[in-house]
Amino acid sequence: MTLFPVEIRLKLRHSPAITPFDRKRDSAVRDPNMSQHRHLAFRLPALVLAALLSSAAFAETVFHRGADGDPASLDPHATSTVTESDILLDLLEGLVTYDAKGNVVPGVAERWTVSPDGLTYVFTLRDNARWSNGEPVKASDFVYSFRRLLNPATGAKYAAMLYTLKNGEKVNKGQAPVDQLGARATGERTLELNLEYAAPYFIAQLAHQTGLPVYPPAVEKHGKDFTRPENWVSNGAFVLQSFQPNDKLVAVRNEAFRDAPNTKIDRLIYYPLEDRSAALRRFQAGEIHYYNDVPADQMKFIRETLKDSFRSAPYLGTYYFTVNTTRAPLTDARIRQALSMVLDREFLAEQIWGGTMIPAYSFIPPGIGNYGAPAEMADKDLSPIEREDKAKALLKAAGYGPGGKPLSIEVRYNTSENHKNTSVALADMWKPLNVQVRLVNSDIKSHYAILRESRDYDIARAGWIADYSDPQNFLFLGQSDNKGLNYAGYSNPEFDELMRKAATTQDLKARADVLKEAETILVRDVPYIPLMFYISKNLVSPKLGGFEDNVLNRHLSRFIAIRP
């Protein structure tokens, strides 16, 4: 008897990186609208028939919305990604929410008051805020939700977001019972939140998905299965109807939503599309109305063919390289300044990143809330030659540079073609300064583990996307007590003091000035070398109305309309 050896074929297949199809072939490239026109002639009789059969009352407006992946969970307390936040903001509404322009505006809360010391917030909830089953949204629902977020048993990834609440950190670390949390319902529609420390960005934080409420009876009854469509209760503009991973998530309009008459869409379908190129083709074919990314290697083609359907706008994110300020000789600020000064950021943004980034001369991106123009680096306007001379002089003073000792540094990046190209470009730009670069690469999980745990690096790639629109959300990366995120190991008492002062300054204008002073120090000391700011890259069908570009790239479906 022939017995075949057991053969296990678990082979790693190629990643679906697509070699772009010959872009010159016009036939392959069409305006998404054209397919409609071309086939109208054939479809006309059918269309007429369909129109006769279905009365206008049944015509349903469907928004086919592409997303760059599936939500890992629909439990707002278990989520962490932008994709999840987009979906959840369509299903649930927090005390505050975003308008079409991405501004934080009242949501379930109609209004609120802040005590003079900035430690007590009292929210008044709208009387027409309802869950999709008709029950009113009560202040106690928020108390329940915040306690659940911070309860260690929940295991919420983003619990630290609301450490701002009184005893938030202690509760999450099991050092205080959950009922010690600074959240109290003082009436059915009055919610009092007490803070651990004054935080002028608290309202912006509440707009984050961690601030969304869950429906307590559903969680009590179904446990973690409250996210199932059959158990789902919404207080947002849409109600979950079905969810099939890697296929689609369907939500229908929530008639009980407080602003339901203004929801223009009847059915909202999210498609998880991980392959950017495939998503682009589906957009071109008119199968999806919207997608929030583009394949970076096809930027030229996209700009030329899609024209106005491609919408890019500044985004609250900074692409930077962190410098290990605890390791000699990078402890010397002059060296860090020289390294930052000579970099050609326009080249990086245009040539390496194909115009999908914009050059950064400050650490905080422009357009952020509660701030003015960011503090830019002093040498921004010098010519490249002047900057190179200045950098050489700085290095010389530190004992390095041409003619001096060669400066030997290790540059780390996480695996990605673009990060690699950027690192190579940095090495090349530093060459005239007699800097020798060794490139080291690792996968993203190992990369960040090294940055925050062993801190065994000289210079390394990093990036930061704002959780909420406030300069504090960038500058806190430089605070010496920010153990997890201060990759540079930067410690400057003057900077720390300014941050403390800003936290207790109630007047927003005065606070902005203090923060700007802090940013000036950060940009001067260069623990981080800001290179570029991210931009949002949206594919928006001409059929979509109500879509507004904004710095948070927030686009709640309730503001979107579909033109026929």
Partner: protein, 306 residues
């Protein structure tokens, strides 16, 4: 025959156990864990999460409890796709993969056998060269190239078929993925069939049939029995591979199959998902190997009586 079947099924158990054990410990060797993000988690939060999923226990303990649950048919909760258990993920995804893969397999068999036989019968003639050229192309162009080409041509230029999406399994949405998956298999099966067919056509019993003046149809029927053997041994692993889905095809066409979970699970360190995928794929491979051996016995009397 029954004894054979029982013996082979029993032999699956230790094989599976070895595979599960290896996979369980190997995946834990990779640095990082399922809850590591680009942004660090607070150590208290991390501890909370690990406790929720029982990852704070010792590795042997976790291994034993995993095995215990598995015997009861429980693959455990997914660590990354948190709203679903691994069992549910397969219950939803496997039918999709099986449908796409099964259709591709069927298409590959019909087209591959047909083309292979045609080429063998007209060896070194135009038909043969054409078939072999197509087969070489089908083999050498990877699916991550053919899939986008099909999308551009049939989806965008001609607008005959949807570019992607599952659309609850509408036939229009299955055409392109099935074609993409089947193409390389058609190529392999056609080449195997052709070679085996040429070999068999030279055999003594076929020459005898010819000498008796029998028609082509009869000769092909007799020759095919012998020619099918190499195709069959290829088919076992190939079927297991096709039916458990393809990362490339499912990602590009946006299909809710299970093909992507092995790689995705490994990259996101979703231990339970990776383990589930390993078990499912291993089961398919083992079962198809038994099926192939059974088919061998049916086709070849020497195996049956050997």
């Amino acid at each position: 025959m029954l004894a054979f079947l029982l013996r082979r099924t029993a032999a699956m158990v230790p094989t599976l156990l070895v595979i599960i054990t290896l996979a369980f410990f190997l995946i834990r060797l990779a640095p990082g864990g399922p809850f590591d993000l680009d942004r660090p988690l607070d150590s208290a939060t991390m501890a909370n999460l690990k406790r929720v999923y029982g990852l704070d226990r010792s590795l042997p303990e976790q291994y034993l409890s995993y095995l215990r649950a598995l015997v009861g048919g429980d693959f455990g909760p997914s660590l990354v796709i948190r709203d679903f258990s691994v069992g549910e993920i397969f219950a939803r995804g496997l039918p999709v993969s099986i449908r796409i893969g099964g259709l591709a397999l069927l298409l590959a068999l019909i087209a591959g056998l047909g083309l292979g036989i045609a080429a063998a019968l007209r060896r070194n003639r135009a038909v043969d060269y054409l078939v072999m050229t197509v087969a070489t192309l089908g083999l050498s162009v990877p699916t991550f190239v053919t899939a986008p080409l099909f999308q551009l041509f049939f989806g965008l230029s001609l607008a005959w078929l949807p570019v992607g999406g599952w659309n609850d399994g509408a036939w229009r949405n299955t055409v392109l993925p099935v074609l993409t998956l089947a193409l390389p298999q058609v190529a392999v099966i056609a080449r195997l069939t052709r070679a085996a067919m040429i070999e068999t056509l030279r055999a003594h019993h076929i020459r005898t049939l010819r000498a008796q003046g029998l028609g082509t149809a009869t000769i092909v029927r007799h020759a095919l029995r012998g020619a099918l053997l190499p195709v069959l041994s290829y088919l076992g692993p190939a079927a297991a591979h096709l039916l458990t889905g393809s990362l490339v095809v499912e990602t590009i066409f946006g299909l809710p199959g299970i093909g992507r979970y092995f790689i995705e699970g490994a990259l996101s360190r979703d231990y339970t998902l990776v383990m589930g995928t390993v078990v499912v794929i291993a089961l398919f491979v083992l079962i198809f190997n038994i099926l192939v051996d059974l088919a061998y016995a049916l086709l070849d009397p020497r195996v049956r009586h050997g």
